[in-house]
């Protein structure tokens, strides 16, 4: 058993594809039309054969309620690892990304939280240098 796929709910798949590729810098992996939605996933350019992140439509009201509650409570629903958090935050802020938490040292890890413009807060973290 392997963890090869994970997912995040997004309020609009076209908007999400733009944000996750053009702003965050991931690359598209799958984009297969299914009815009015897509089976849509992205991967990191640093690991094109690594874990896929599926951008799922959150049309279901139950999913929306969950997503909205997590967001409103300030709770991130995904976390992406970065090598240089300060540099990433600067780059993303220049692209207009909104942060609800600026880089904060938590023990050996530094953490920041931003909005993905698709209904989620995303945690970016820099692990201790190995």
């Amino acid at each position: 058993m392997r963890i090869k796929l994970t997912s995040i709910m997004v309020d609009d798949q076209s908007k999400a594809l733009r944000f996750y590729t053009e702003v965050l810098g991931f690359v598209p992996k799958q984009k297969i039309p299914v009815g009015q939605y897509w089976w849509l996933s992205v991967v990191s350019p640093e690991a094109p054969d690594g874990t896929e992140l599926s951008l799922e439509p959150n049309a279901n009201p139950a999913g929306r309620a969950f997503q909205e509650a997590m967001f409103t409570q300030g709770i991130p629903v995904a976390a992406f690892e970065v090598t240089d958090l300060a540099k990433e935050v600067e780059r993303l802020q220049a692209a207009g990304v909104v942060f609800t938490q600026m880089p904060t040292q938590m023990g050996p890890v530094s953490i920041a939280v931003c909005s993905d413009t698709c209904g989620n807060l995303i945690q970016l973290y820099q692990p201790p240098a190995r």
Partner: protein, 153 residues
Amino acid sequence: MRVTTQLTEDAFADLCRARARLRSSRPVAIREAAAAARLSPFQFIRRFKALFGETPHQLRIAARLDRARRLLALTDRAVTDVCLDVGFSSLGSFSALFARRVGRSPSAYRAEVRATTSPSERPAALYPGCLNLMGAAFATLEKQPRDAPMDTA
């Protein structure tokens, strides 16, 4: 002027509250939502879009069209009544917006849902279960192999 890319807890909470009020079935006016968030309408719209990826107006329209889709699929209310129920005053602008967003007119959408699903399947058909899309996508590929490169434009 650059949009603020660092939100205080209070500013964040204000914008979240504004979103909930704009999404409700009795949405507030945008000027009112801005005042409640202690911002000028101009600043409110900019910050709202930066956080949620759409303007307050776009979000309010999307919420109305979602409710319309549900009413059309799951009830027998006439299209005109659905239009008024969800907060549009003009059938023409409702139909045009619906067609732009959903890809067909309200009545064509209702007819399609009825023709392709049984009443018990309709709620599920309205909200495809997330990861269920994977199975459906690969089943589709099996039937018609994909030869074109992925369109990411």
